[in-house]
Symmetry: C2
Subunit: 336 residues, 2 copies
């Protein structure tokens, strides 16, 4: 496992529960051999690390205890090359500027070594989905990423298993809960600084807050959906983005009087072979299906050729939902 942020910690917490909340998550279903971070140290033991020991060995500021007998002081690429593991779980944070590096390289390395990969990291898929998909296919391994787009809501499983052989034409959704939550606060006349503070207290701001506020998080999710659904090779850089400042530039309180709400709507459409995608601050009135998607809830609406549109809504997810998305992917692999 690479990355030990909110999702990583929650995942290990779920593994550490003596009576698992997800009945299939029996002890010994999976052995955790390594947990590595960029700047907070790493643990590795091919005989297995106990989930509760992982949590106990970690200090919020100092990271993993250097005195632990399982402390690993080598480099990540070495471990990926020579370590003992069947599945790489990549949970490091989105890095837009580096186009998903170094996670992209790590995932590539694991697939080339014949390992399955589960990731909640948007970067590698937003920038390099096609290459990774081909590599996974060539290596006959799974590359799963249910937590990347909708905090674990099973959108990719829905499409893969629920829309077999159908042709998706377009999607639209509210996929960034931070901006959705912030717009709601701004409707109530709360200043951007106080709104951000409140979002931070809820733990729903990305490691780099500009990823949310400048629309990068939403653009990355939109790119992943386009690449998976439309077989495209679009990157977040090619997707026009609204930014959060626009919320405060608009006369949003007047919009409220007009019963309009401003929503950050992610859209993608395939017309013939051409892909259109955008992340756009859009006013919606109460007849719009997204009008009542509030708080940190998210929504995705999918139109497929000849079928009735499907909409999936997730109400106020927590980090448990994102970690569960990773578990759902892991269970697909263990059931192989």
């Amino acid at each position: 496992m690479i990355g030990f942020g909110n999702v990583g910690k929650e995942l290990i917490r779920l593994f550490a529960e003596p009576k698992p909340r997800f009945p299939a998550l029996v002890p010994d279903l999976l052995t955790i051999t390594g947990v590595v971070t960029k700047s907070h140290g790493a643990l590795y033991n091919p005989r297995g690390l106990s989930p509760s020991a992982i949590l106990q060995t970690y200090r919020q500021d100092a990271g993993f205890d250097r005195n632990s007998s399982d402390f690993y002081s080598g480099e990540i690429p070495e471990l990926l090359s020579d370590g003992d593991y069947d599945i790489l779980v990549e949970l490091s944070a989105l890095n837009i500027r580096s186009k998903g590096e170094p996670a992209f390289t790590y995932i590539k390395q694991a697939l080339q070594k014949g390992r399955h990969v589960v990731t909640a990291n948007k970067g590698p898929l937003a920038f390099h989905f096609k290459e990774l998909r081909e590599l996974a296919k060539k290596s006959n391994r799974l590359l799963l990423f249910e937590s990347t787009v909708m905090d674990g809501t099973p959108v990719f499983n829905l499409i893969k298993h629920g829309l077999r052989g159908a042709s998706v034409l377009s999607f639209s959704g509210i996929l960034n809960s931070t901006t959705n939550f912030l717009s709601e606060l701004s409707e109530r006349g709360i200043s951007i600084d106080r709104a951000l503070e409140s979002a931070r207290a809820k733990g729903i701001v990305e490691a780099d807050p500009s990823d949310d506020l400048d629309g990068w998080d939403a653009a990355a999710k939109t790119a992943i959906l386009c690449n998976v659904l439309f077989d495209s090779e679009i990157t977040p850089f090619q997707i026009p983005r609204s930014t959060f400042e626009e919320i405060f530039a608009k006369d949003i309180r007047r919009s409220v009087e007009q019963k309009l709400r401003w929503k950050f709507i992610c859209e993608g459409t395939r017309v013939n072979q051409k892909i259109h995608a955008s992340v756009k601050l859009t006013p919606v009135d109460e007849s719009h299906p997204f009008y009542r998607i509030n708080g940190t809830s998210s929504v995705l609406r999918i139109e497929a050729d000849s079928l009735a549109p499907l909409t999936i809504v997730q109400e106020n997810p927590t980090v448990t939902d994102t970690a569960y998305g990773v578990i759902n992917d892991l269970l697909e692999i263990t059931n192989l």
Copy 2:
């Protein structure tokens, strides 16, 4: 294939398209060896029936042409026992009084003979799910039924693949589009007879209209969801039902003035080992997530232990959606 009603005809129409709307539905993916009905004749040819020939051989009142060289005059059980087929597609209509017979017996026979089964018929699953599931398991064959509950919306695939290892605690939904559509008309002050006429013109009334109006269709769907999600053995007879007459007994127009809408809500909950299920005419106000589910749209909201509630909505499906649900199931089998 047993049954040649709206769904069966649409399915064969989709197979007959020279350029398939669902790209995976390539010609020769499946060979249709037989189409049998209770009272409209049957066709059978182990070398395969052409989908367009099936449509041409059928007359709305007279059924399949007795002069066709493929006309089959034997009995269904014989054909299920001795005929050439890998998959039984059971599409006959819900029969509440007979507890899902004769479809239940046909499905049992096919599974015992080692055939896969795809069904859109609610009866056998609402009354005998556990027995059929065990039989399928014993025969190592698939029993798939995506079209039974939500007109092909992939609810069972969502749960099977999207909520792996999670524990569903409760569900609620609007699953009978006829009553939903009729309540809407009654809100506008339209009489029950004229409303029914309009629903018939839209082709959304069950073979036996009392199945819709007395809540049997909704109760059968609720029973299936309980049996699949909670591993229960509840039947539609054990589920308290509202009936459609109540709509006209209520002062529904006054409710409209109060901004309330009456919805037929199907619910199921598991508390410890106890199952509660109901189909209940319920007033909802505009803050309720089901308030705006109108027309023939349907919705299902699922709560699983420790996860954010998920809601899936299908907007105004047609018979193509139901037939597509069968295709989705068939593609799961052909991809085995």
